[in-house]
């Protein structure tokens, strides 16, 4: 069992501690607002929807800095209050007091500077674009990687351990995942029930202790290896693993062909 993974804290349980997307905010914004924003998040425990709201605000702050940039006359106040307040991240933000809106254009660009040049526009546009892609990818990735408990075919399927058959017993048929879970001397196999010959669903024949395809009489042993019939190869395998929480996962989206049975194909539950 892989128990070492259990140390990873579940960040979703402590919304105030882990601040979503905070790194996406521009440095100047963080210098000014990060400390109080953190305090607010600790107080209000944002919902999932509000976390996305934070993401969009971060992208907004990057893409349209001119919309919130503080005017020159207010910057003195910013400096005073932010030193009094003591922001959590010490600031390259002393730059906030220099480089006014009417400043010299040819001045080399400073990290905290807010003037909106073509270069900063490009950078912000690119970062914003990357941010949107990353967010989309994160959502898609979370969707893909999240074990689907309803167990639709093509997804990762949690098989409750009490449904795992004993060694040598008849296999367990998982209808949603379209596989047979069988326990042999080397460990577990998740056999995709589709006959590699012409695609019929292969039933288990308890009396024979074999799989018998009714369509063209291919016969497979407990490891899914063809004993007779027209099938070109053994039954296909689905990947089996334990997740961090110790659930047995059959990935019905990860189906592999094989030409023979080997011990490594079997999964040891432990």
């Amino acid at each position: 069992m892989t128990n070492n993974q259990h140390q990873i804290p579940n960040s979703d349980e402590q919304p105030g501690r882990t601040i979503p997307w905070l790194w996406l905010f521009p440095q100047a914004w963080r210098t000014r607002y990060e400390a109080e924003f953190r305090a607010l998040l600790e107080d209000c425990s944002p919902t999932a929807r509000e976390r996305f709201d934070i993401l969009f605000s971060a992208l907004d702050a990057r893409v349209r800095p001119q919309a919130w940039a503080i005017e020159e006359r207010d910057r003195q106040l910013v400096l005073q209050t932010s030193t009094a307040g003591g922001p959590a991240i010490p600031a390259p933000g002393t730059k906030l007091t220099v480089g006014g809106s009417g400043g010299v254009r040819q001045q080399p660009e400073e990290p905290g500077e807010r003037r909106f040049t073509r270069r900063t526009f490009l950078r912000n546009a690119i970062l914003g674009g990357v941010g949107v892609l990353a967010a989309g990818g994160a959502v898609a990735g979370a969707n893909y990687g999240w074990p689907n408990t309803t167990g639709a075919f093509g997804k990762q399927i949690i098989v409750p351990l009490e449904l795992v058959p004993d060694p040598g017993a008849a296999p367990f048929k998982h209808n949603d995942g379209k596989f047979w879970l069988i326990n042999n001397e080397d460990g577990l196999l998740a056999l995709y029930w589709k006959c590699p010959h012409l695609g019929c669903t292969v039933p288990w024949e308890d009396a024979a202790n074999e799989f018998h395809c009714p369509c063209h009489q291919s016969v497979y042993d407990r490891n899914g290896v063809r004993l007779s019939g027209p099938a070109p190869r053994p039954m296909d395998l689905m990947a089996v693993h334990l997740d961090d929480a110790g659930n047995l996962i059959v990935d019905s989206g990860a189906i592999s062909e094989r030409d023979a049975y080997r011990r490594e194909q079997a999964f040891q539950v432990g």
Partner: protein, 106 residues
Amino acid sequence: METGFAELGRFAEPGLLILVSLAGGEKHGYAMMQDIEQTCGARIGPGTLYAVLARLEGRGWIESLPASERRKPYRLTAAGALVLREQLSGMTQLAATGLQRLAATP
């Protein structure tokens, strides 16, 4: 009088709620969220809240005060009060017109 309030775009509505909230006295972020939720029944997410606060502060309509611990209170400036008054009286006019017309048509 053109105050530039409409330039807030989609942040205009939460901006108005925040200005109204601060009209009742200085508040830090979470206090604003609670106040707005109680008085208007609307919940403003923290991301939107700070996007709006930054804009209002950038326009000089609100200003931040020295922080107590890490929670920084904000208060309405004179300019902010002017904008809010302008905005609200415009809404009063609109409401009056609308109600009149509703009353006129049976």
